[in-house]
Symmetry: C2
Subunit: 298 residues, 2 copies
């Protein structure tokens, strides 16, 4: 039924009645449509459900367009990003168009759904700003990191699950926790992959996040585990281009202190909580989505 969502998005884009927008939209990768899948699994395939899923994917696409400009990212899903192909300005404008059309269409679903989704976009945009601001200093406060990834990544998934539950006349509370846990775990795993993935694909880690100033969960745990001297050393390396020696030292410290496993365990705990909640409700498909997430490559 994901094809019904694709058709609805296509219809929304055509309604904008602008050839350039249609052509630009056609160049965007569709992604995994994880948020749409989540909504369909919870709420079935009625028209309001399809519309909600379509709106959420448009909003998600808009947020990625702006993210790529903000993060100077020139690839997305191994292809050149829209800002790389057509410039930052076009990416900003297309993002604004998709956001506005998404918000407009929320009015054609229900006030409750509209509030839930649009509030999550407020959180998402605040999270994006916080992510950039935090990277300007060496943040070692786990609470602040968790709040930021909740806003940046989990709030929209929480709203998707909550909105879908409302549409299906299910109790939104458990579904919101499910979406929230999935979102936070998803971002934690993404942050772990930033450290582990390059080792597999490039032969050595680039520690891109740390170089960019982002002290994600593994760095927070590593800092906590180090003695005072090594704490200072880690801090001194933050936000700078790393020499091979220093990269190796960070990786060695991560290994010695079992940091990746510890971080991964934290994501896993959230996923397990989400799975238990869904198993209690006989929502096997939703448990499987959650399970697939912890089985991503490390």
């Amino acid at each position: 039924m994901l094809s019904a969502v694709e058709r609805k998005i296509g219809q929304f884009v055509e309604e904008l009645d602008d050839k350039e927008v249609s052509a630009l939209y056609a160049k965007l990768p569709h992604g995994k449509r994880l948020r749409a899948k989540l909504i369909l699994k919870i709420a079935g395939t009625s028209l309001p459900v399809i519309k909600t899923a379509a709106v959420v994917e448009m909003i998600h696409a808009a947020s990625l367009l702006h993210d790529d400009v903000i993060d100077d990212a020139y690839t997305r899903r191994s292809k050149p990003s829209l800002n790389a192909l057509y410039g930052n300005k076009t990416a900003i404008m297309l993002g604004d168009i998709l956001y506005a059309k998404g918000f407009f269409e929320l009015n054609n679903i229900s006030p409750e759904i509209s509030k839930m989704i649009s509030n999550s976009v407020v959180q998402l945009s605040l999270g994006e700003l916080k992510d950039v601001s935090l990277s300007k200093s060496f943040n070692i406060d786990k609470k602040i990191y968790l709040e930021m990834i909740y806003q940046k990544t989990a709030s929209l998934m929480e709203a998707c699950a909550g909105a879908a539950a409302l549409l299906a006349n299910k109790d939104p509370k458990a579904y919101k926790i499910y979406g929230r846990n999935l979102g936070i775990a998803f971002q934690m795993i993404d942050d772990i992959l930033d450290i582990t993935m390059d080792t597999q694909t490039l032969g050595k880690p680039s520690l891109h996040d740390f170089v960019e100033g982002k002290t994600t969960l593994p760095y927070i745990y590593l800092y906590e585990a180090l003695d005072d001297e090594n704490k200072l050393k880690l801090k001194s390396l933050h936000g700078k281009k790393l020499s091979d020696n220093n990269t190796e030292w960070i990786m060695l410290m991560m290994q010695e202190n079992n940091i990746i496993k510890k971080s991964y365990q934290e994501a896993k705990t959230l996923i397990e909580e989400a799975i238990t909640l869904m198993n209690e409700r006989g929502e096997n498909a939703l448990s499987h989505i959650a399970m697939a997430m912890i089985e991503r490559d490390f």
Copy 2:
């Protein structure tokens, strides 16, 4: 009662519960609050009216933040723009936050108002893209120019007037025409001032729009008035840095063909139509707002 709108915007910003956003917002110039004034003059000062005015001004501020990034504008109201002070990325993110909060708050007014305003933001963002795209070639199609400035500038003013009329239980039709005419005339006059203003303040015109590739109403009329040879010459100068000789030639052609007066007359006709509509309804304050617009300096 504009102060009630300012307080409401302040409250909306505080509700975001983010110190950085509050600090950034405090740095934004308030502007003339033309859209809020329009709404208050039409609909009075009930809470839904104040909320609508506050939302519209937040949305307008968001659009200006993104505009300044897209236009590489480093000043706004003779002060450094937010993107000049804090970089393009911060301007994009703050714009997204204000947009999202504005859309969220529309849910607390009424579905009809929410649809009208959010649809105008779709148009506004489409207009912004069209403005940039049109500047890549020599557009001499007046219809396309009018459609673009309707979307970019007039659609939000049309929605403001229409929403205010709805809130005041007045017939929205006439008020929407009023807002639309005001918006189109406002942009036409802005485009004329781009040609005439520098001559007064800098001693010579910079023809900034034309250099940027924007063929606004005066250039479209000038092209229509020129003979074939001069048409070619004008076209050859489009979108390039101009020598003093070429600037003088354009200004001379404008003068000989009475272009500024003709363009100004077109804006004036729209304003007069708006004034007549409001006079018929005894809306003197609204007539005055319209009149003030044609009395801007030339």
